[in-house]
Symmetry: C2
Subunit: 389 residues, 2 copies
Amino acid sequence: MFPVADALAPAATALFTVVLTEGPLSRVGLARRLDLSSAAVTKGARPLIEMGYLEELAATERSGPGAGRPASPLTIRADREFFVGVKITRDELIGVVCDLRAQVRTAVHRRLSETDVDHVLRQIAEITTELLDGSGDYRSRTRRLGLAISGDVDLATGRVRYSPFLQWHDVPLRELAEQATGLTVTVENDVKALTTAEHWFGEGVGADSFALVTVGAGIGCGLVVGGRLVSGSFGVAGEIGHISVDVKGIACHCGSRGCVEAIAGADAIVRQAREATDRPELTFDDAVALARAGDPGVSAVFARAGDAIGSGIAAVANLVGPSRIVVSGEGLSAYDLFEPHIRAGFQRQAFGAAADCPLSIRPLPFEEWARGAATVSIKALVASWRRPV
Amino acid sequence: MFPVADALAPAATALFTVVLTEGPLSRVGLARRLDLSSAAVTKGARPLIEMGYLEELAATERSGPGAGRPASPLTIRADREFFVGVKITRDELIGVVCDLRAQVRTAVHRRLSETDVDHVLRQIAEITTELLDGSGDYRSRTRRLGLAISGDVDLATGRVRYSPFLQWHDVPLRELAEQATGLTVTVENDVKALTTAEHWFGEGVGADSFALVTVGAGIGCGLVVGGRLVSGSFGVAGEIGHISVDVKGIACHCGSRGCVEAIAGADAIVRQAREATDRPELTFDDAVALARAGDPGVSAVFARAGDAIGSGIAAVANLVGPSRIVVSGEGLSAYDLFEPHIRAGFQRQAFGAAADCPLSIRPLPFEEWARGAATVSIKALVASWRRPV
């Protein structure tokens, strides 16, 4: 077994984060990348190597001018520690085990028959046991569990202030889940967790600013500005779903009209598709099938929804100017119906050079949400090494 | 004369910035505030005292437990250096001299009969001479000039990429103005300059995030997130004027419909007021007078404009969550007509706790724009002290 980490110097956590998110780098490359002396890099890397989180790749001989000592890039030992991630939805838990590089090693789903806190906690404990004691034998190298849930979550205290889907108010979820599982728990809003995963291990790596827009039951957005996840001074940020694009439009549950979510959320699409077809039993999947079959009324519903999402994304680009925007979410299983209209709405509404911002529009496997939850707990591990100020 | 600054340690510029923006602080208070050792504070302050930028206030005797050496707070010598700030508009230059604390010492206005680059540069040189060699005798302690201009400006190179009001394309304004005045010049977008002034010397002091919205010919927005002014990866940020709040609304010059600026910019208000009254000769001031006299059609134009601005501001609060939003600009000379509708639109559209964000709505004296320009050059002075990395 490796020694447990004491507090490390800031240089150590900085170099670990760079190697973790950007890949193997030589000590010389790290010194340049982080504007540190070679001695500081060597000193910072030592305890991480001793603890088994970093290792040296086989030395590669350098040739040409300046060739001297061979360069041994530092790399992550991905299987040094594993992390459980669980996404909690209204009717299901999705759980994964990830390694230190946030690669999913195993995944399970579990139906939720009830949504009261006790029941959900029991299911979290059971899914964790199933994940850790199953075929992979991850138990001995797993100490952390990340939970992701939609709604208003306080990462610092691990409290769920309000979850509309579960109808939870002020639940000390971190504390309860630590009691139920014996693991060190982090709790984060699901969109922020997914944004953290994209920022550390996805399309946002190295970006100073970056946005992730999720399309599904709600329309959410995670924002990274100046390299940091934006949380909002009043706990609200990234609420792209409640930008109004049509002052006289459809009434929204928030009390306003024409919000992006009131036009393009899954429930809103079903409601509009039912009206367009006069078929009150229509489901979301029925609406997708009808639109794909060319039904003009239902196609128009998806077109309007995509346009509203594109217009909301343009507001993000016009205000904040991220270097890249990823659009994803379970709603994008119907991605073919949305994509051209998202792009058209974005192009019309993006101002000047803001239209140059690349959009990646792609479906999102549901396990990705759970991977996001695991990523938050990887980030918490690195944060735990920092010396208290 | 004081010695000229060499490169200073990061601690020195950090402590100078804190004393400049937050006021006098003892060495002990600075050490705590900046998480530095007392030795680092003393070492950082020494060259700034030698150069005359900082001085010690008369020692105040401390009493009570722990009373020992008297605390001598460090404070700024505001008249150590002066800064010229000039705002360039389509038909006027507004110039000020500010001290190191951005207090306006003197201000002059000068009409622009033409807007070609040569003419404007001659006028900048003349207004600078008038400001520096007039009654105050600021010349000997002034080395820097800040210029503020609406449009697309590159602060780093001092180039005006595009100014729609002046019809300038790719003008190397910094270089030209340095030749014309002999001063060290900074050029910044006018809304960003004003935001910098509010962030360093106004309602944004100490705020991690902060927004300034300007209402006038255009509707602009400056954003500070994580303590830094947001510039946008593609040079576009804060374009609140081109958030669409009405997908089927008034056509905007940007090519879209229902943009905040197309409803609430000064030209848009005049156009709508003319239509409402069937009086094609109506001016902005006429519209204000009619609305104040209770004309229902023209009042409705201001109400719609205020509501659109409020809705746009709510988009800023929903996405970024600033700790405070200041709404200002020359358009707010008609502030009584806008304010209740800005607040109503904001309250309706702000999501959840985002509605708690305080709005300061107030008119803006035109000299404030020039003060913003001077502030950018104060910031450039501090930046010039930093050691190159």
